[in-house]
Amino acid sequence: MNYSLLSLEILVTLLGVTVLLADLWIPASARKLLGYAAATGAGVLLTYAIGSGAPADGTAFGGMFVVDALSNYFKGFFLLAALVVLLLTVDLSDTIKGYAEYCALILFATVGMLFAASANDFVLMFVALELITVTFFVLVSYDRTRSGSLEAGVKYLIMGALASAFMVFGIALIFGSAGTTNFYEIAAHQAELGKSPVFLIGLALTLVGLGFKVAAVPFQMWAPDVYQGAPPLTTAFLATGSKAAGFALLMRVAFSAVPEITAHWSRLILVIGVLTLLYGSLCAIPQRSVKRLMGYSSIANAGYLLLGMAAVSLSGSTAVLTYLGGYIFTVLAGFAVIAVISSRAGSDDVSVFAGLGQRSPILATGLTVSVVSLAGIPPMAGFFGKFLLLKAVANHAGTERFFLVALLAACVGVVISLYYYFNVIRSMFWPKSVPDLTPIAVGGATRLALVLSIVGVFYIGILPNSLVTGARQAAAGLAPQSAVAGHAAAASAPAAAHH
């Protein structure tokens, strides 16, 4: 077996273990070094992964593990998210009890995400997901002395266990009816399997589990509570890495394993997408907690992404991938600021952000860029992603009324989101009461993380071509070899495939 295919996974694991072990010998006063080391390691691996080190396409573990354009696309972003989050931990290391373990857990969760990007089998998918979810149970409740954090941890644990239970049940049904759990092999027989109710129930239950991961309606209930209760950096990683991993798997199952069934379910995905985005947008309005607001915003964004998937087309998948790329930069920029402010003020109420423009221009810039990008305003990354998504949906709006309704709903959602996103900006620059105006010192590592994210947001917004090209290659590589013809047919005429 070609172990070089797993080089990234192995190296990140080693990095995590090294951080854990190094903590035994490094004095407590120097623990910042661990954070720097972990971040540097992630940075080196990131450059390695997107540079010459990207392994060539291939499969390992008897086809369970696949390396292709899609897995490489996602792995770059997972490592990036890990890098930025680790950088952000450095300046907050004094406030995190068990700092080395926190860094190591983030790295282990990253390993889970890397495996998720390459999973080509329901079993490996489940294992990767559990690695992510279990690590996050710990990360969410890391702030042990704060009841909010523990409450979030318990909620995430129970809801996660519930989702995992459904998923494992679903996988069992799939295996029972198909006799295999490999995506390519299932794809080869999907015509017969599509007629088997057992298989369809199994598939639906698996998708329920993934729907939980990405916080799609009706499996979104945990998100606001957990986003609000968890330590801010955990939330940042949850909103970027974990969510993207969910979408990586969702796309692989939908378009690699069962493209024809996905085309049948296009309307279902569309309806879920519309409900998700409207739910997220509407509930965000009355929020005063910025972290909770980001939770709802994360739900709304999952809705937009599902619309792109429902289009079942190359342009739809490309849009989803592009949107995710820009979304990761955007959310990281926002959470960098939220982490600094909320750990300082002990609260994440909108009012503690008042006067930020004067207190720290770079923090105000970061949050403004993030929020404006989330609202989908050019020249930020969020605009281009949303534009491509809506365009992919609009391509079908002429022939299918469902898509037209979805398009209108998405536009309504965008307008509503402007309202609550700009509420944040308003309280930042035009506060109602005279706020505390003491300047906030921002550490070097945080500054670096912020600049990295802000530059990313602008780069993707202004020169999106390289990202779109990469996303298109990744999306085009999704179709399994044996089912290329079927996928192409489904992609070109999803409407015709409906009953």
Partner: protein
């Protein structure tokens, strides 16, 4: 994707080493880097800010000269490797730079004048608390202006066009605590936006007709099929011209330029003499190929018949030239005289384009940039010396108190007046008169000659009243010469005012617009008298007339004798022919009425029914949905399981 990007970067960097014309990218980006450096780095130190800004601009100037020598004189045209920016449907916009005779010449002008103005400003604005902001804005302005110059497509040009509008807003309103400056900045911005609206429409028309926004491709499309623009040919041309009308302050959008004199004087020299106002003329020359297409009007505008867009442009230009010259007769503020003179010269240039002489227009633009910047900076030195007194009747006798300023100002005046053989202004003005004559516009030629007589008259009025006679106030009595940082930019600008015509610039430009152009036999300094004696003789005659009249009326005068002799006409000139008043009388009430109507609609329909209604219902929905989010885990698990049931049911249905 990133490997791809890396390859691209490698390709780009190797391109830099092998293609010297890619220097243009550096020239463009240097001022932007300076502006960013000031905004994010050295803002707190005025000294560092000015040093950064000046060194970036001077480097850009040196690179521009190198580019000019490398490509301009070789007559070689090329376009540095573009990279694609927007690909949406059928709209493809590449970020590409046009490096040819036209743009390298403009690069030298813009960076050169900008560098001198910045050096001058260090002394003129010494101690001003906003100095860093000033240099940041001026770097941003230089970047935007270079962008217009180098843009190889209409969309890119429009983006930089707007950036010039924004940065000039910042510069005109530099002393924003003065209400007049803030108002002037707003007026300039809004008037320009009015023109830009037309420009944008024009771009859309051209794009829809030719399918491209790149100058080269539009040229090719029109070359292959001259009637590609169909019935919209003339309309497209006029819409594009609207943009030029705003930036180059042509009648009836000329009102912003004199008010913009509220900005610091060096800004007036940069923006309102050499660069921003030249952008309109430059844009007309850059897109001249659009105007060469045979004119055509939509069917219901049949009555316009054979009149082409160029004819209308020429008439507007000529009218602006005359109108502004007349207004300049009776202005007392030294900067306003120069402002109206600028308007008048811009009218000249636009008229030249309209008469089919873009080369003449560019020629005059080049020479005018030099001597008008000189005049403005000279005026700045005078104002500086007289403790911010701008009324020429409160000066007098300055010639021996400000020797360097006086001599350089006199050279600038001679160039503007068009003294034959000695000054550059003569040759470029002559080129315009020849263009009018050759283009078959005898009336405009006559108008040009008239303006050529008016120009020396009002300029000498300014020189005689301000520099000669007895000092009329204490400020003038105690005036003393400006510091070195201000005088030597004056000297540096005086050189091209005399010398620029000696190097065959006219032929250089003519060859750009007409590849088959051959320089005239027997050119040289007396060229104009040899091959177009009529224009040269009329030009010289009008100069002599203007000079004589000015000396006759103003030599030794302590008050202006013109109001008595001209009566009502003088009052009209003094009050700028009441344009501002008329605009105020017509547009302000109309504006108010529309505003009130819009406010009512906004308050009752949009805000009441629309926003409040929508906001209320959305907010209600949000609050209602929040009830679902109880925070109770049992509720969550129940809803989750119910959701699973629904999904499984729908999925297997």
């Amino acid at each position: 994707m990133d490997a791809h990007a890396a390859q691209h970067a490698v390709a780009a960097s190797s391109a830099f080493s092998s293609r010297p014309e890619d220097l243009a990218w550096f020239i463009l980006l240097l001022p932007l880097i300076a502006a960013a450096g000031i905004a994010f780095g050295v803002r707190r130190s005025p000294f560092l800010s000015s040093t950064l800004s000046i060194s970036a601009t001077v480097t850009a100037f040196i690179l521009s000269v190198a580019l000019f020598l490398a490509f301009g004189l070789g007559g070689y045209a090329s376009s540095p490797s573009p990279f694609s920016w927007i690909h949406v449907g059928s709209l493809n916009v590449d970020l590409g730079l046009a490096v040819d005779r036209l743009s390298v010449l403009m690069l030298v002008i813009v960076t050169g004048v900008s560098a001198l103005v910045q050096i001058y400003s260090t002394a003129y604005l010494h101690g001003d608390p906003g100095l860093s902001r000033y240099f940041g804005s001026i770097s941003l302005f230089t970047f935007s202006m270079l962008g217009i110059v180098l843009a190889d497509n209409l969309v890119m040009m429009f983006v930089f066009w707007e950036l010039v509008g924004v940065s000039s807003y910042l510069l005109i309103g530099f002393w924003f605590e003065k209400p007049s400056a803030a108002d002037a900045a707003k007026k300039a911005f809004l008037t320009n936006r009015l023109g830009d609206f037309g420009f944008l429409l024009g771009i859309l028309v051209v794009w829809s007709a030719t399918g491209s926004v790149s100058f080269t491709e539009i040229g090719n499309a029109l070359g292959g099929n001259p009637t590609a623009l169909g019935g919209l040919a003339s309309i497209a041309g006029l819409l594009i011209f609207c943009g030029a009308m705003g930036k180059s302050a042509q009648f009836p959008l000329h009102v912003w330029l004199p008010d913009a004199m509220e900005g610091p004087t060096p800004v007036s020299a940069l923006i309102h003499a050499a660069t921003m106002v030249a952008a309109g003329v430059y844009m007309l020359c850059r897109s001249y190929v659009l105007f060469q297409a045979p004119g055509a009007w939509p069917a219901h505008l049949w009555f316009l018949g054979d009149i082409t867009a160029l004819d209308i442009i020429a008439i507007i230009g000529g009218f602006t030239a005359l109108l502004a010259a007349l207004i300049a007769f009776q202005q007392d503020d030294i900067k306003r005289i120069l402002a109206y003179s600028t308007l008048s010269q811009l009218g000249y240039m636009v008229m030249a384009v309209g008469c089919g002489g873009p080369d003449a227009a560019m020629y005059h633009l080049t020479t005018h940039a030099g001597f008008k910047a000189l005049l403005f900076l000279g005026a700045g030195a005078v104002i500086h010396a007289c403790h911010h007194e701008q009324d020429i009747w409160k000066m007098g006798g300055l010639w021996h108190r400000l020797p360097v300023t006086f001599r350089t100002f006199a050279i600038g005046t001679a160039a503007l007046a068009g003294v034959p053989i000695l000054t550059s202004g003569f040759y470029s003005k002559d080129a315009i008169l020849v263009a009018a004559l050759d283009g078959g516009h005898p009336v405009l030629f006559g108008l040009g000659v008239l303006v050529a007589a008016f120009t020396p008259f009002y300029m000498l009025r300014l020189v005689i009243v301000a520099f000669f006679g007895k000092p009329r106030t204490d400020a003038a009595r105690h005036a003393h010469e400006a510091p070195m940082a201000m005088t030597w930019p004056l000297i540096a600008l005086a050189i091209p005012s005399i010398a620029v015509a000696w190097f065959g610039l006219g032929d250089f430009l003519s060859a750009h617009f007409n590849p088959h152009f051959h320089a005239h036999e027997g050119g040289g300094l007396f060229g104009p008298f040899n091959h177009a004696p009529l224009a040269a003789v009329f030009g010289t005659g009008s100069l002599i007339f203007g000079v004589t009249a000015a000396f006759g009326i103003y030599w030794g005068a302590t008050t202006d004798p013109l109001p008595e002799r001209l009566g009502l006409l003088s009052r009209a000139m003094r009050n700028r022919f009441y344009f501002d008043e008329v605009y105020e009388a017509i547009f302000v009430p109309m504006h108010d009425m529309v505003g009130r109507l819009a406010a009512a609609v906004d308050r009752w329909v949009v805000s009441g029914l629309g926003i409040r209604g929508a906001h209320g219902s959305v907010e209600l929905a949000g609050r209602a949905l929040r009830l679902l989010q109880t925070g109770n885990l049992q509720t969550y698990t129940f809803l989750f399981a119910a959701g699973v049931a629904v999904v499984v049911f729908v999925a297997t249905k």
